[in-house]
């Protein structure tokens, strides 16, 4: 698993140590390595390119100011996405959506559709995009973290400050919603 994750972690950890000493060249390298993932993370959650751009800028400033706080107990990616997560929550609060977003129930009916329809539907990239976009915020985020960022469930738990069981539950329900959506909008419909 994560064939290059250890090397990536070591390199990014070394960059953070240099950033903590005030080396802007290290900040540039860190930015180059992580900006796309931070931006994608924010954009998926906020659905607004301008807001996501601001979050990216704020997160990198946070890295610059507080790199010394990285203690190496998690991967640098987990650490930086954790910062992004809190920035996003703060932004959503300002939009007055927080209660709805944070308390979003991890519950959907469990009447899973037939696998053949869902399997046919998942072959269609545009269909997958439409169905992923329809997921509730919290479910879309865990799907992104699990399948775009390839994070483990303990890492997602750390980033989102939710129990590992909740991470699994959200993915489970997201999966059910996606299957229903892909079947409903699938090719043979």
């Amino acid at each position: 698993m994560h064939q290059n994750a250890g090397q990536e972690t070591d390199e990014a950890g070394a960059l953070l140590a240099r950033i903590a000493r005030g080396e802007t060249l290290a900040l540039e390298s860190f930015y180059d390595a992580y900006h796309a993932r931070v931006y994608a993370f924010a954009l998926k959650r906020l659905s607004n390119a301008a807001d996501a751009t601001e979050i990216l800028n704020e997160v990198m400033h946070e890295v610059w100011r507080h790199a010394a706080r990285f203690e190496g107990r998690s991967r640098p990616l987990t650490w930086v996405l954790g910062i992004a997560h809190h920035k996003v929550i703060d932004r959503l609060r300002r939009r007055s959506h927080t209660d709805h977003d944070e308390l979003d129930l991890d519950h959907t009916p469990d009447d899973a559709p037939g696998m053949s329809d869902a399997m046919a539907g998942v072959q269609d990239a545009e269909l997958v995009r439409r169905c992923v976009d329809r997921l509730p915020d919290t479910q879309r985020l865990v799907i992104q973290l699990a399948f775009y960022d390839d994070l483990s469930y303990p890492e997602i738990s750390e980033i989102m400050h939710i129990p590992t069981g909740t991470v699994k539950t959200r993915v489970f329900h997201a999966k059910q919603v996606l299957k229903r959506c892909l079947s409903a909008l699938g090719p043979e419909k």
Binding site: E28, H86, T98, D110, V128, R129, A146, F147, H161, K175
Partner: protein, 200 residues
Amino acid sequence: MIEPEHPEELLPWYANDTLTGDERQRVEDHLRDCGQCRQELAWLQRLRQQVKGLQPLESPGELVRAKLLREVRSQPRRQRVQWWQAALAASLAVIVIQGAVIFRLSGPGNMQVAAAPIGSLPGQEALVRIRFKPTATETQIRQALRVINGAVVDGPGDSGVYYVRLEGLDTTQPFEIQDAVQRLKTASPVVLDVGMELLS
């Protein structure tokens, strides 16, 4: 619906190759004999491929990069205060308070005691560090900040921490800060933890 004994909750993590140890072994053992889970895994793997291709607009990489570097190069760098600096500040506090008491007891009644920095060292800023519950609304956060007449100057950063300046207080006086912290803890149900940080 897959039956409960199938390791369905672990399959997404097997699909993204992050499962380790016993959990990974359990899934692999199960997959050998379960066509239903192999089919589920194939669906998850295809979903993962599609999600990886879903990334929308390109990151405004160069634009933000240039702005970031311009800003960090033009701003003085904040550095965390070392423990010995905090200890020195505390020691100074004791010395200055003792000196003030002695001066008051021995000096002329109408003379003022010279102000001295005892909560923070010269050139430092004392900020209150607050972490709110994730479910705290903006209204609740605003209410909490009003209790201490605080203004957010940074955050939320790592672990959702806000750094707050106490308006109208002399932050060189540690007792004023401690009093504000106590009022905040008592008055706001959405505060997870609160502390003080000296920044230079």
